[in-house]
């Protein structure tokens, strides 16, 4: 079973909300589709990004039984990066999920 775009975005936003629970009040991240994840205007650092990646990969596995990797070499070298924001990351999750079906 592959994941839908809406559900993928929900999972990314849930992971951002979860990350907020670990961050101080001054470091809270906006939980929205256009929240930038990496790069010049990103709201999170690489520690939080990895936490988000781990949470999302696990959530997809739990829901669909699919093991997707958001950080393999192809992803890291992809241009533009899927990690621009929450919405583009969810698009990439759907792409990986469909490819794994």
């Amino acid at each position: 079973m592959s994941i839908t775009k809406d559900r993928a975005l929900e999972l990314v936003l849930a992971a951002l909300a979860s990350a907020n629970e670990e961050l101080d009040a001054s470091e809270q991240v906006t939980v929205a589709p256009d929240t930038q994840l990496f790069g010049a205007d990103a709201q999170i650092n690489s520690l939080t990004l990895v936490s988000l990646i781990v949470d999302v990969e696990q959530a997809v596995d739990d829901e669909t039984g699919q093991s997707i990797s958001l950080t393999d070499e192809a992803t890291m070298n992809r241009d533009p990066s899927p990690f621009r924001n929450a919405d583009t990351l969810s698009d990439y999750m759907v792409e990986l999920s469909n490819a794994g079906d």
């Binding site: 670990e22 101080d24 930038q36 790069g39 010049a40 650092n45 690489s46 520690l47 990895v50 936490s51």
Partner: protein, 237 residues
């Protein structure tokens, strides 16, 4: 200000170290030891480690004020209690044993953003503990792979320069983001030390992690360098 002076002709600690070739930040030429501004002499492999987004600078007493400020922040509540005054912090830095490598993490424009250490370096069992990892300036590191590259530089130094076989450490159980990061970067969870830590007025389990050289080469390098590559890609206009 740092100066380099010739003191003796050190013998490399291991064949790996002698043969290693960091692209930068490797150990100094034979015969050179490095003295910081206090006159304290460091071993030749204890020098600046250079990366793409960050450098690791050997921690010197001049860094007392900035590191003390970080240690007093909320982020440091899951680290062991440290100095409470600049003078204590200065003394603490000045008296670090030779079995430790303590670094200040700086961005390429030299903005200090954090600290990280390699402690209990045991050249017989070829093991050491990464420790005191703290990002102090959260605003300066958003969108930049600072944690990934800083730890990669430290691990690369440990395995490729010092010739270590194993890194290990204990993370406080409530520090979930740090545990996820270390597991992602290849560390294996090896056990639980119950109520091992007393932090912020409470006992916490200590989760033990370990990383062998083979795991560093097969997993850690790929994953941490991948994050650095992604940072490079997303930082381009």
């Amino acid at each position: 200000m740092r100066v380099v002076r010739t003191i003796s002709n050190p013998t490399p600690k291991s064949p790996e170290r002698a043969g290693s070739g960091l692209q930068s930040g490797g150990f100094a030429p034979k015969g050179t030891f490095i003295a910081d501004w206090t006159g304290a002499v460091h071993e030749p492999d204890f020098i600046r480690l250079e990366g793409e987004f960050v450098d690791l600078l050997p921690l010197v007493p001049d860094h007392a004020d900035v590191t003390l400020g970080w240690r007093g922040g909320a982020r440091a509540r899951l680290l062991n209690r440290g100095a409470t005054s600049a003078e204590q912090q200065r003394n603490w830095i000045a008296t670090r044993p030779t079995s430790e490598r303590n670094y200040l993490i700086v961005l390429k424009d030299q903005t200090p953003v954090g600290m990280v250490s390699l402690v209990d370096i045991d050249m017989v069992a070829r093991k050491a503990e990464p420790a005191r990892f703290l990002i102090g300036d959260q605003d300066a590191v958003r969108g930049v792979p600072v944690a990934a590259e800083a730890l990669f530089l430290l691990y690369r130094h440990a395995f490729d320069v010092l010739g270590l076989h194993r890194l290990y450490g204990t993370i406080a159980a409530p520090n979930q983001p740090m545990m996820k990061f270390h597991e992602y970067s290849g560390m294996r969870r090896e056990g639980v030390l119950r109520d091992h830590l007393f932090l912020d007025g409470e006992f916490h389990d200590g989760i033990v992690y370990g990383l062998l050289e083979s795991e560093y080469r097969s997993v850690t390098t790929r994953r941490l360098q991948g994050l650095v590559a992604m940072g490079r890609r997303t930082s381009q206009p």
